[in-house]
Every structure is written in C-alpha cells, then in structure tokens.
C-alpha cells in the first residue's frame, strides 16, 4: 500500500460546491418553522383552527418517524397506528383515571356496570410519571420485541410491511373486543383535564398546541441528527444492500431495529399528545386504514426528506379535514389518486421536485469535477 500522504479534499468541500453557507440553511429552516408555529399560526388562526393544526402536527410527528424508518431505512411500516395507539391509550388511561377522581373508575366502566375497581393493568397508569414514560417506552418496547424477532430472521420488504399491517389489525380488533376495559369501539372519549388543566378552556388548548409544536420541532431535530450521523449513512446502506452491510461486519438487524424503535417512540409521543388535543383515542384511529394513511402524507411530501414528509403529512391531514367534511366521496377518490400519483409517478414525493429543479439548474452551471 502507498505510504504517501494523501491530498484529500475536506468533507465540506466534497459535500457542497458552494462552500460553508450551506449549514445555515437548516438553521434558517428551523427558525422559519418556529416563527410560523409559535407566532404566525397562533395569531392568524382561530382557536378552532389552531386545535385542528395541533392535530395535524401530531400526524407530522408520526411522519418524522416514518421518514426515518421507511424513507431512510426502507422499512415500510404499515402499523404505526399501533404505536400511536399505545401512546394514546397510555395517556388517555391516565387522564381518564384523573378525571374520575380518587377511588372512582372511569365513566365508561361504570356505564358497562361491571367494574367497581380498576383492572390491574390500569392501575400503574394512575401514576402520572409512569403514564408519561409509558407513552414513549411502551411503543418502543413493543417495537423492540417485534423488531428483534422479525429483523433477526431477515423478514423484510413486503413481508415486513404485511406483518406490521397485520399487527395494526390485530391490535384494533383486540381493543374492540375488550369493551369493558378499553371502551371498545368508542375508545376512551370525553377527556376533560390534562394534568390539572381544564381542556375546555381555550387558553389551555393553546398551551397544548404549544407543547405539540415544541415536541414536533424537537423530534425533527433529533431525526435530522440521526439522518446526518454515521448511523444515518449506515441506515441508507442497509436499505441499499443489506447483505453487503453484513459482509462488512455489521448486523443489519440492529441497524434497522434502531430506526424502527425510534419511529415507534415518535408515534407513541404523537398519540399521547393527540389525546389532549382532540380529547379522544379509539380503535378507528389506529387500525389498518389510519396506519396506512399515516404513510401517505410522508409519501406525498417525500419519504426520504424530513421537510417533505412533515409538510406532506400536514397537507394531507388538512386536505382530509377540508374535503372529507363536505365531500366524503370525493375525498376518498382523491386520497386513492394521491397514493397512485405520488407512488407510481413521483416516488420521491413533492420534495423530489425541488431536487429535480436544482439539478437542472446545476447542470446548466459549469461542472467542476466530473471526469
């Protein structure tokens, strides 16, 4: 091997021909997003609209995880609703217990008339710290167990997608079946308070919105760090060629597991915050159909691009509310078309349009290095 000192260009030079200004772009993006979320939206939107935006932002949190797992890692997870639901139910269980007051059981349990005291698996959720931790850790634990089984045995691609979807179906069916303890089809509804704050008060609703917006930005920052880290590069390598990664001495199962578990934690957090924002969690929000709807936003915006996935999720959630209220049939057709157009003809999502334009502009400029 040669022993000469190599003349290698620095990474920054390699990365962007325009030099050092590029690192400012994400910072500027974050600042713009923060201004939009914390100043513009609360001023411009009515309480009702702001509440809807809070709900969309929860969807966007799930999309951040999907971007990581699917966009970067190639893991098409059609069961994010399960993790969203685990987080949501963990939070809602605590809030229902708190609403009922000491010694009482939640209203729906009284309604069905069977339970005079809490079922054993409800009891820990009376503790706010336990419940809060569970909203994130419970989904992560489930994802870790399932993922370590599935990835180690190299169940991948479409098989993984179908299994994750089956998980969503089974979870929703199980929840419906346990009516006495889970509220069945209705779910846990009519949640009044949020850690001592009355959720009917618009001021407190605003506070919930701000919490959600903050958490979303934090999750985006976390995902960005992961994507640009060495781990993020390795994750793309696993997506490209899992077998090759294995021959380099890595265990791809662990690489995928991290992305899957992180995505699950994000979905759990989203579910947990969805509950105070909307006041309900139910099987209809977490089964096969809502799980796959969580994917479409990321797909439309651009699964591999964080900004694309987040904006796509918000836009699709908004379009859903806007269209489905007045034209439910038209919305379904539109949604179907979105799937078809976004995935068959624009697999990179809308975010890829930016790249296409930029590349076209770049190709007009003189090329520096290509031989």
């Amino acid at each position: 091997m040669t022993t000469t000192t190599p003349q290698v260009p620095s990474v920054k030079q390699l990365r962007s021909p325009k030099g050092r200004l590029t690192f400012l772009r994400p910072a500027a993006g974050f600042a713009a997003a923060a201004v939009a979320l914390f100043a513009v939206a609360p001023l411009a939107l009515s309480d009702f609209r702001l509440g809807l935006l809070a709900k969309y932002l929860c969807t966007a949190m799930v999309a951040v995880g999907i971007c990581l797992a699917w966009g970067r890692g190639g893991l098409l997870t059609l069961g994010q609703g399960v993790f969203f639901g685990l987080g949501g139910y963990a939070m809602a269980m605590h809030l229902k217990i708190a609403d009922a007051g000491p010694g009482q059981v939640p209203d729906f349990m009284q309604l069905y008339g069977t339970a005079t005291e809490l079922p054993w698996w409800w009891r820990p959720f009376a503790n706010p710290v336990f419940a809060l931790a569970a909203t994130v850790l419970l989904p992560m634990a489930v994802a870790a167990i399932l993922g370590s089984f599935v990835f180690r045995r190299r169940v991948k691609g479409a098989y993984f997608a179908i299994l994750s979807q089956a998980l969503a179906a089974a979870f929703a069916i199980w929840l419906v079946g346990q009516q006495a303890t889970t509220g069945g089809t209705n779910g846990l509804t009519d949640i009044q308070g949020f850690f001592g704050y009355d959720l009917d008060d618009p001021v407190n609703q605003r506070m919930v919105y701000f919490v959600i917006a903050t958490v979303l930005l934090l999750l985006i920052a976390l995902a960005r760090q992961l994507i640009h880290s060495r781990y993020g590069e390795l994750l793309v390598a696993v997506r490209d060629s899992e077998e090759r990664v294995r021959f380099l001495g890595y265990n791809p199962a662990n690489v995928k597991l991290v992305a899957y578990v992180v995505a699950a934690g994000m979905a759990g957090l989203a579910g947990a915050l969805f509950v105070p924002a909307v006041g309900i969690i139910s099987p209809a929000l977490i089964g096969i159909v809502p799980s796959i709807e969580l994917v479409i936003g990321a797909a439309v915006g651009g699964r591999a691009s964080l900004v694309g996935a987040v904006l796509g999720a918000i836009a699709v959630a908004w379009a859903r509310t806007a269209l489905s209220e007045e034209f439910p049939a038209a919305w379904t057709y539109f949604q179907g078309l979105l799937f078809i157009v976004a995935l068959a003809f624009l697999p990179g999502g809308l975010a890829s349009l930016v790249g296409i334009v930029r590349r076209r502009r770049a190709s007009r400029a003189p090329e520096g290095e290509a031989a």
Binding site: T2, P6, V8, Q225, S229, L234, F247, L248, P252
Partner: protein
C-alpha cells in the same frame, strides 16, 4: 474498541492463512462443493479457477457464512464455520461479489467510511462524520478514487465500482480478501492496474481470487487451485497446474464442447484480450 479514525494496517497479528478441510455444500440434493481440502498460506495470492459450476463461488459463500456447509474452515487458528456472516466478517474475512455491490445511493467516501466502521461505538455512530478518516484517505489513494470521493457510487463506471469494493475491503482491514471475478468487464489497462494492486495488497494480506481470465491468472497468480465438480482437481504454481494432464483433460473436454473460449489454460495460448 479502537478508534477507527486512526486504524493502522495490522502489524501485531501478522498474516493469517486459510485452512479448509472436507468442506461440503449441498442444495436440495445437488452437491455444489464436495469435500474440498484447501490451504491458502499467509500472504498468498491464490487463484481459484475451474469451469462454470465447479463450486468456486459456493466455496467462497461457505467460507463467508452465506450458505450452510459441513467440514471445517479455520482462519488464523479459529474455526469460523457456522458463525453468522457479520461475525465472520469481523474476524477479518472480506469478500466481493461477481457483480460489484456497492451502496449506490451513497458517495464513494461514505461507502468507504461505512466499511471502516464496523467496530465503532454507539456515540461515534450517532455523531456526524467530520473530515476523512486516515484509513479511508489511504484507501482512496490506493484504489485511485480520491478525485471521485464525493460522487455517488452508483454513478461510477463498472471497473471503478470494483476498485471501490476492493478499497472497502482495505479499510475494513480484513486479513483475507476473497474476490469473485474482480476484473470481469475491465479493459486491458484496468486489468493490469488491478493485478498490480492485488500484488501490493497481498504483501500485507492473504488474497484469494476467483477468475475466468487465464491471461490475468498467468500474469499475477502466485499459486493456483483448480476446482472441478465440487472438488480440488489440481494445485500448485501456474506452470505446474498447466502441465497437469488432469487439468488439460477437464479444460480441453470443456473446450471441445464450447469451442475456443478465452477461459482455456493451454500452455501455448498466449493471445492478449
């Protein structure tokens, strides 16, 4: 765990050889490798040749843990057969594939950096890569891809992808390289360059090359094993193997059915590609 950014070529462990005994691989009734005994000495540049279906690639698959096999494979004093693929890779064995397999959507630099990092700790993994690790820079230089470090691997020409693969094995710091047809589809000049590269590499590492190109073999092999129907037919230097009547029979028989192919090691044939 050592910091990978300062990984030096291995000097402490020295060179390791490969010792295969009674290796058998069967697919649903078809025996692809049928009792192979093979010794590759430390620092050898061994060529594995043989007609299609002789079991060359399957042999490499078995050594690297891709397919299940019976028998024993010892490398550097350890029995590695039955270990999982990534553990075998970590014990210092690297391979390339017939069709160059690189991470097409990552840059050359990222490809090499990933290859260098199997032993990295969690914190290093979660941080951004800053600068170019020295071993990566050296490998870029060795395989002549320094200027293309920022290009996506998918845009590289075929021959360069194969060099990138070899570069990845270098930064992976393996002690045994198993190369599956590394010069297939390369021009004459590229073949020469690759051969000289392999020669240099084999001073510090053990190299096994599966090859169909006989001129390339004649120019660069230090020793040759001929596989036929899942067994080792002949072994020795290039001259010894070419003089072996068994080899001539197999190859001439092969040649008689297929006409004149470039893959026939007749002692008289010396045409350049």
């Amino acid at each position: 765990m050592t910091d990978p950014t300062t990984t030096e070529p291995r000097t402490d462990t020295g060179l390791s050889g490969l010792e295969i005994r009674g290796l058998r691989v069967a697919f649903d009734g078809f025996t692809a490798v049928d009792g192979v005994d093979l010794d590759v000495g430390p620092g050898d540049l061994r060529f594995l040749i043989g007609p299609n279906g002789a079991g060359k690639t399957t042999l490499v698959d078995a050594v690297t843990g891709l397919v299940k096999a019976e028998g024993s494979v010892r490398f550097g004093g350890e029995d590695i057969l039955g270990r999982s693929v990534h553990r075998i890779a970590r014990s210092g064995i690297g391979r390339t594939f017939q069709t160059a397999t690189v991470f097409e959507e990552l840059t050359v630099l990222q490809n090499l950096d990933i290859a260098a990092g199997a032993g990295r700790g969690t914190l290093t993994m979660l941080r951004r890569r800053k600068g170019v690790p020295e071993s990566v820079a050296r490998a870029l230089e060795t395989v002549g891809l320094t200027d293309l470090a920022g290009s996506l691997a998918g845009t590289l020409a075929h021959g360069r992808k194969q060099w990138l693969e070899i570069g990845m094995l270098l930064v992976q710091d393996v002690r045994l390289l198993l190369l599956d047809e590394p010069v297939a589809g390369m021009s004459h000049d590229e073949r020469q360059a690759t051969g000289e590269l392999l020669r240099r590499i084999s001073r510090e590492r053990t190299v096994v090359v599966i090859e169909h190109d006989m001129d390339f073999m004649r120019s660069f092999a230090r020793s040759v094993s001929v596989l036929h129907a899942g067994k080792v037919l002949s072994e020795g230097t290039v001259t010894e193997v070419q003089a072996d009547p068994k080899v001539q029979e197999v190859y001439l028989g092969h040649a008689a059915t297929e006409g004149t192919t470039t893959g026939v090691p007749r002692p008289t044939a010396a045409q350049e590609a």
